[in-house]
């Protein structure tokens, strides 16, 4: 406090080590110096060690030939592609299994969360056993279980389970017909997208009209018609422009069609079931947090049990459910790195191979961490926007 008395003399001075501001400045600079020293020491050691071990540094290796194969790639890839492209393949595979896992675990989680609150004893108990079982068993064990114990026990391609001569299930994966778009196929998805836009506009208009006049528009039925009729008309008008490429057994393996590798199935199943249990707990907690009075008020207004859940409970519970579910999505995405343990070529698995080949641990792990960090940040941003939408505006 810079207080001076009228005749200009300073008040009794405190020693600098008793002045909170000086002490704060001192301790903060001390910590800053220590952290900086630690970082400089680490960087220095690393540079010395790299020079001593003759490990190259820098990002030149990204342009070089990767030289390793990948059992599953969404874009063109061969051992002759560059390391950069291998990274891309890994990132796409991570995104694929994370997206599939997020969709499946959300469905499982909401179903099981509501089921745990069911009045039906059998359903309630089954959901409780599922949640407690999955939450308390390591996810890596679950991935191993699906990969080695379930999928590994499937028959060889020659004895594959045959579903109507078009889909085959064997220990090499699931083989399904691949869609091959013909001329004008692109028209159908475009029409469908336009229908989706129209439904959004319609829903907004119907809601505003309801709020202004109290008249209820049959949005549900009209939306279904609006979504499917134009797309179906386009589909048949262009002559059903989709051919199918069927898988067939040639020698010891399947040729053609779309292959879903067992690694993907194992990681997907395990992550969805594991994360689904945590989402179920979040959903149950969110619903329980809504007071009983809300249910009673809704029922006394004449809403049915289903309407009460859909119109009164869920909208309020969502704002409690969304933050923990976001955390579960992030942890699912991070857990997809365990695909490396069964050889699913996601980012961690690809970068592990790269790390062994190039020895450039700092660069490879740096890029990997950066990518995971970015993916998590994007998911968190999307969920924050969604959270703002479902939040009840406070007046």
């Amino acid at each position: 406090m810079a207080v001076t008395t009228s005749n200009g003399t300073l008040p009794a001075r405190t020693a600098p080590w008793h002045d909170p501001r000086k002490r704060a400045a001192f301790f903060q600079s001390l910590v800053l110096v220590l952290v900086a020293a630690l970082i400089i020491w680490i960087v220095n050691n690393t540079l010395t060690n790299l020079a001593r071990l003759n490990i190259a540094s820098g990002y030149d290796f990204l342009e070089r030939r990767a030289g390793f194969g990948v059992p599953m790639n969404l874009v063109d890839y061969s051992p002759d592609s560059t390391y950069l492209r291998a990274f891309g393949v890994g990132i796409l595979n991570t995104l694929l299994v994370s997206a599939l896992g997020i969709i499946a675990s959300t469905l499982i989680g909401f179903f099981m969360g509501v089921a745990r609150l069911s009045t039906n004893w059998l359903i309630r108990t089954m959901a409780a056993v599922y949640v407690e079982g999955m939450r308390n068993i390591p996810v890596l064990l679950q991935i191993f279980f699906w990969y080695f114990a379930v999928l590994g026990a499937l028959p060889q391609p020659r004895q594959a389970v045959n579903v109507a001569d078009s889909a085959f299930l064997s220990n090499r994966g699931l083989f399904v017909p691949a869609p091959v778009p013909q001329d004008y196929f692109w028209l159908t998805p475009i029409v469908f997208l336009l229908s989706v836009l129209a439904v959004i506009v319609l829903a907004r208009w119907a809601r505003r009209r309801r709020e202004l006049t109290g008249q209820i528009f049959p949005t549900g039925k009209v939306s279904v018609a609006l979504l499917f009729i134009p797309a179906l008309v386009t589909w048949f008008a262009t002559g059903a422009p989709l051919a199918w490429n069927f898988p067939s057994l040639q020698g010891f393996r399947f040729v053609g069609g779309l292959t879903i590798v067992p690694e993907l199935v194992a990681v997907w199943f395990a992550l969805s079931l594991y994360t689904g249990a945590f989402i179920a707990e979040a959903v149950r907690g969110g619903i329980l947090a809504i007071s009983k009075g809300q249910t009673q008020a809704a029922r006394s207004l004449g809403l049915s049990a289903g309407q009460t859940l859909r119109l009164v409970i869920i909208p309020q519970a969502m704002r409690i459910i969304v933050p923990p579910v976001t955390n579960q999505y992030l942890s699912l995405t991070k857990n997809s790195s365990l695909g490396a343990a069964v050889g699913y070529p996601e980012l961690m698995s690809v970068s592990g191979t790269m790390l062994n080949q190039t020895g450039q641990a700092v660069e490879v792990l740096g890029i990997t961490m950066l990518v995971y960090g970015t993916i998590c940040l994007v998911i968190a941003l999307i969920m924050n926007v969604y959270n703002r939408l479902v939040r009840i505006p406070e007046r």
């Binding site: 704060a24 910590v31 039906n120 059998l122 359903i123 407690e132 308390n136 792990l365």
Partner: protein, 390 residues
């Protein structure tokens, strides 16, 4: 009120039906002497329970049927495999019924699953360490035992030295056992305990740092926590196993197991910090202000006023982090450390026992389930015991 009461009395069906209808000729007992009859069976008995709990509505009936069918298709084959056709006695795969579970596998390999490749004659060293740990844990966690501070200090300073001497050996005539020979449940427990202690200690410091009014300290702690929470555990483990040797000066090397423990502690410290921060934020500002008002400095107010209350609030979060930590010790197998899952996986890939995955996984799942489920139950009980109502 009066009008409603009158209309009830004059209701044609109501009159005489209830015990208060004393003018009714149908009444068999005088007022107040009606014997205690059991409630009707259809409203409370097993029939009613089944109706209310299983067949309440058409949807309920359909769901009950679905689940019952699921149980019918899954449970009998499992029981048949595990118990009816399962083999418990024997020495090798040939003694097992090929249609059933081969529990012989677990029995023959039991020592390996518990101790890894630790020399058989020295198993007592692991057992002794575990016994000391168990006694210390019991003394610390049983509420009535006094001198908690002394026990904690002993566990954190003297016990690690005893454990190191006993497990590593090389002195007092104990044979030296290299860490690559360690494995199984023993290693899982060891890494978990070391990880929990390190993560808890560092996590509390990080949480205090993040909540600190000093901007530089708070931003350093926040940056660390957010960075670690954005990346998967496996990348930190790879960092500890591949990059940590590069970070250290030439000539200094740490054992792989030690590096893995450090990685585990550093990673989970960030999650622990977030759990503790929840407790710190739940504490009303008045507590901080009262502590300063009675003249306590920062460390005294933290250790006597703030942390004891904040840690109590964060028990659920800390327990969840501990459970996650224990489950994620399985990831150590990815950097070549044979903890429980790693050693079972390696044993099941042995040509002599090839295909015995399920038996191994069932055993590992059971071990983890018992531990994690027990921990979550214990935490609920602890919460209740420490709950002082504010």
């Amino acid at each position: 009120m009066g009008a409603r009461g009158k209309s009830m009395d004059t209701h044609p069906e109501r009159a005489g039906a209830g015990p208060e209808g004393q003018h009714s000729p149908a009444l068999a007992y005088p007022v107040g002497q009606h014997p205690q009859l059991p409630p009707p069976v259809v409203q409370t008995g097993p029939v009613a329970w089944v109706r209310d709990n299983l067949f309440g509505s058409p949807l309920d009936i359909a769901m009950t049927m679905c689940v019952a069918w699921l149980l019918y298709t899954l449970l009998p084959p499992f029981i048949d495999w595990a118990f009816v056709k399962g083999t418990l006695f024997g020495q090798s795969r040939q003694d097992c019924n090929p249609d059933g579970a081969c529990w012989v596998f677990l029995k023959v390999r039991f020592d390996q699953f518990v101790y890894g490749f630790y020399p058989a004659g020295d198993h007592w060293r692991v057992n002794l360490t575990a016994a000391i740990l168990a006694v210390l844990g019991l003394l610390f966690f049983v509420p009535r035992v006094p001198y908690k501070g002394v026990i904690a200090l002993f566990s954190l300073t003297v016990f690690p030295v005893i454990a190191y001497v006993l497990l590593v050996g090389g002195v007092f005539g104990l044979e030296h056992v290299e860490t690559p020979k360690w494995g199984g449940v023993f290693l899982t427990v060891l890494v978990s305990v070391a990880g929990i202690v390190l993560a808890l200690a560092l996590g509390i410091v990080l949480a205090l740092g993040r909540q600190s009014p000093l901007p530089i300290i708070s931003s350093i702690c926040t940056a660390y926590i957010e960075f670690v929470r954005a990346v998967p555990f496996i990348t930190i483990l790879f960092m500890a196993s591949v990059m940590l040797p590069l970070f250290l000066p030439e000539g200094v090397s740490l054992e792989k197991l030690l590096r893995a423990m450090i990685g585990t502690g550093l990673f989970w410290a960030a999650y622990m910090a977030e759990a503790v921060r929840g407790g710190l934020q739940a504490l009303p500002r008045g507590q901080y202000e009262a502590a300063s008002a009675i003249g306590l400095n920062y460390w005294k107010s933290m250790s006597f006023i703030v942390l004891p209350q904040a840690l109590k609030h964060s028990i659920p979060g800390i327990m969840n982090t501990i459970i996650s930590l224990v489950k994620d010790t399985t990831l150590l197998l990815l950097i070549g450390i044979f903890e429980l899952l790693g050693i079972v996986q390696a044993a099941a890939a042995d040509p002599k026992w090839l295909g015995n995955y399920v038996e191994g996984y069932v055993a590992v799942a059971l071990v983890f389930f018992l531990f994690c489920f027990g921990m979550s139950r214990y935490s609920q009980q602890l919460e209740k015991r420490l709950d002082t109502g504010y």
